[in-house]
């Protein structure tokens, strides 16, 4: 969702600070892509970076989602949220130009492909589970998985979720991606507001209708 700041408009752009933070975290996982695209950012994405895209382990991701996403979404709702996250990751265009409207004068670029680092973090969750419980992550109960995730995120600050692209751990990215959706905001607000969805102007004067209880877990 768009968040407003002190200048004229809000900004969904990852900040310079976030870019550097993310780039730093991703260096190990995507050093090749960073180096390759650094030479010619405009020509990068369709060739080197996308060709090198690392797929996320869907089984591990599903096991993570059960712990991270609201269980009240139901199994279908969680699956839909993961489907959308996977599609979002796959369609990311590394080092595309950021919006440069007002606020800075230089041309800036989005971070490298986060998928390699995120896949490595999924693998690490499995390794951590193996070392701490002698059992794979997927075989753990949700409560045990939650403990592993808690341990993996112990250094993550939490006053506000980052944008998904700025998330430095896949568990946070998955949660942030879901919570940035209009449907998630509707659940939080208990009303059909659907932020950032194009819709009729004239209805804006009415108080948003409450979401139906049956729909609370049905739409993500």
């Amino acid at each position: 969702m768009h968040h407003d700041h002190g200048n004229e408009y809000g900004s969904a752009q990852p900040s310079r600070r976030r870019f550097l933070k993310t780039a730093g975290v991703l260096t190990v996982g995507s050093a090749t892509a960073l180096t390759a695209v650094g030479c010619d950012p405009k020509a990068s994405s369709e060739t080197t970076a996308r060709a090198a895209r690392v797929p996320l382990d869907r089984s591990l991701l599903d096991a993570l989602a059960v712990v991270v996403l609201p269980e009240s979404l139901g199994a279908d709702g969680v699956k839909q949220a993961v489907d959308r996250f996977v599609a979002w990751v796959a369609d990311y265009d590394p080092v595309a130009e950021e919006m440069h409207g007002y606020g800075y004068a230089d041309i800036r670029y989005l971070p490298a492909d986060p998928a390699p680092a995120w896949q490595a973090q999924l693998t690490a969750l499995d390794l951590l589970a193996q070392r701490s419980t002698k059992t794979g992550f997927m075989a753990l109960s949700p409560a045990q998985r939650r403990d592993v995730v808690d341990a993996a995120l112990r250094t993550q600050r939490g006053d506000r979720l980052p944008t998904p692209l700025a998330a430095t751990h896949i568990a946070v990215a998955l949660l942030a991606h879901w919570s940035s959706s209009p449907a998630a905001w509707n659940l939080a607000l208990g009303a059909n507001v659907s932020p950032t969805s194009c819709r009729t102007l004239n209805e804006a004067v009415r108080k948003p209708l409450p979401i139906a209880p049956a729909a609370k877990g049905a739409t993500v």
Partner: protein, 536 residues
């Protein structure tokens, strides 16, 4: 890279340099009021077409990608600024990604010296600009609500009905009224109803940076509608020098190069030349155009080209209020008040606007509870639902900053484009009276926000000033207008004092930048210049 050889020569009646919103308005006016041929020269090229803007918006929302493709030249940029400046250089200029906010200045802006004893008066009044404001509003299609007549004077009604006061803004308006502040729907160049073949606003909330429906006005709509037998748009052509007759001062032609791979030289001959390239590139071109006869550049007998850059800063606050709001109904639309733009005589000068928005600040999801425990799953959602209750308002006041003579654009010999032209460097500087008042002005705004919070039984979540001093918002100046050639670059109509057929249009000519969004005024001032050109 300097291309030599015989240039391609273009001949026309009126040559307009720049294709942004001021240029578009002027070209439309000139087509209707003259029979002359118009050539518009743009250094960049066309950016994302209307048909691709839905996809471009989706990628902006999903990833923060720029929706505007091929919108800048890598070696043509300015330094020294952050706020209020964009490196965008393409057909339509910065108004391809403006927010569409279109307030007028107030009558006081044109007479600050006479009324308050600070700054400088403009060489014309609000009343004289009123018909050109109206013309700009009609050409763009501005949707507006008539505010109280004493605060919002205008000769004719807004061309379009206002964007509705949505549910959130209605609650906030009730609060503002209780705090003694008159507010109304912010005038916006967005279709509140279908207009000019474009759709009604769908409150997609990405007006800035991209409107996917075409409801927000952008200059490409004007360029697409103008008759091609009267207006020629010459893209990918950078004008690098303006040439003047050493004896008469008349401009004879301009020269430049193609910005495509060829870099081929170009020469344009015309009877009238208009610089409509904004507050950076218009003075930059005049300073670049030095010659033996004009060693300080063109139009620069006063030595003021590039000087008196003006703008404004802001104080911004987030307030928690005991009411129920639903952030996301139409985040970019706001309430506006001009109450504080029209003060009576003051012992200390302060004029500012006031805007009020809904906000999601403080109501977002988080990863950790107050006790530091991890929030995931339903626990996270329950926490978010609790945080999302209530209301956050955002309030912000732009306050007028008076420019110093040394608030200026200079040529930076250390940064050059492919042809070796030094790029502009910009450094804003407050006039002494503004610098002395700054701390008190900002505290006055903070105190206003505290009073507003108290009136609504609310509390301040946080307050902040403009982030830094790297520029000011809605910048103007660099070719200021006036009646005295010793203290101004152009006359009251935008005609250079030193060159009878050279005009500077819009933002660069303004002596001050008021304390509200400036685009509508830039266009209105440009239309006044177009009127003078058409009149002959």
């Amino acid at each position: 890279m300097t291309q030599t050889g015989k240039p391609t020569v273009h001949e026309t009646d009126i040559c307009i340099i720049g294709s942004g919103i001021t240029a578009a308005m002027m070209a439309a006016h000139l087509v209707e009021h003259t029979n002359r041929a118009i050539l518009v020269v743009e250094a960049g090229t066309h950016t994302t077409p209307m048909r691709d803007r839905t996809t471009a918006r989706a990628r902006y929302v999903a990833y923060g990608e720029s929706p505007w493709k091929s919108d800048h030249l890598d070696d043509q940029n300015a330094t020294g600024m952050t706020w209020g400046y964009s490196p965008s250089m393409h057909v339509g200029g910065l108004a391809m990604h403006w927010g569409g906010v279109a307030p007028r200045y107030s009558p006081e802006d044109f007479r600050v010296r006479s009324l308050y004893g600070v700054g400088d008066d403009w060489p014309f009044t609000y009343e004289e600009l009123d018909p050109f404001y109206q013309e700009a509003e009609e050409r763009m299609g501005v949707a507006g609500e008539q505010g109280p007549a004493a605060l919002d004077p205008r000769g004719k009604p807004y061309p379009l009905p206002p964007l509705p006061i949505n549910y959130n803004l209605a609650q906030l308006q009730h609060w503002a009224t209780g705090a003694g502040i008159a507010t109304w729907s912010t005038p916006s160049a967005k279709n509140s109803v279908p207009h000019a073949g474009r759709a009604q606003c769908q409150r997609c909330d990405t007006c800035y940076p991209v409107c996917p429906t075409g409801a927000k006005y952008s200059p490409d709509f004007t360029w697409d509608a103008l008759p091609t037998n009267r207006v020629t748009l010459l893209t990918e052509t950078l004008v690098r020098r303006v040439e003047a007759d050493a004896r008469t001062g008349r401009i004879t032609h301009v020269t430049g190069n193609r910005t495509d791979a060829s870099g081929a030289p170009v020469e344009i001959r015309a009877t009238q030349f208009v610089l409509a390239a904004g507050f950076v590139w218009s003075p930059h071109l005049l300073l670049l155009s030095r010659s033996a006869a004009f060693p300080n550049g063109l139009a620069n007998r006063s030595g003021l080209v590039g000087r008196y850059l003006a703008g404004h800063r802001n104080v911004n606050a987030y307030l928690r209020l005991p009411m129920e709001l639903f952030p996301g109904i139409n985040v970019q639309h706001s309430l506006v008040s001009k109450q504080f733009m029209r003060p009576g005589r003051q012992s200390r000068y302060l004029r500012h606007d006031l805007r009020i928005w809904e906000s999601s600040v403080g109501r977002e999801p988080r990863l950790r509870a107050d006790d530091g425990s991890l929030l995931v799953g339903d626990a996270m959602l329950r926490d978010w639902q609790q945080r999302a209750k209530g209301a956050t308002a955002r309030v912000r006041g732009y306050y007028d900053v008076l420019p110093d003579r040394d608030s200026m654009l200079t040529l930076d010999a250390g940064r050059k484009n492919r042809w070796g032209d030094p790029m502009p460097h910009v450094a804003f500087k407050d006039a002494p009276e503004s610098a002395a008042l700054r701390e008190w002005q900002e505290e006055s705004l903070r105190e206003l926000f505290r009073r507003m919070a108290k009136a609504g039984n609310g509390e301040i979540l946080r307050m902040e000033n403009s982030a830094n001093d790297l520029g000011q918002e809605h910048p103007t100046g660099g070719c200021r207008m006036g009646t005295d050639p010793a203290t101004s670059v152009v006359d009251a109509w935008g005609r250079a004092h030193d060159h009878e057929n050279l005009w500077v249009a819009g933002a660069p000519t303004q002596p001050t930048a008021s304390c509200c969004n400036g685009t509508l005024t830039f266009a209105a001032v440009g239309l006044r210049t177009a009127h003078a050109i058409a009149r002959g």
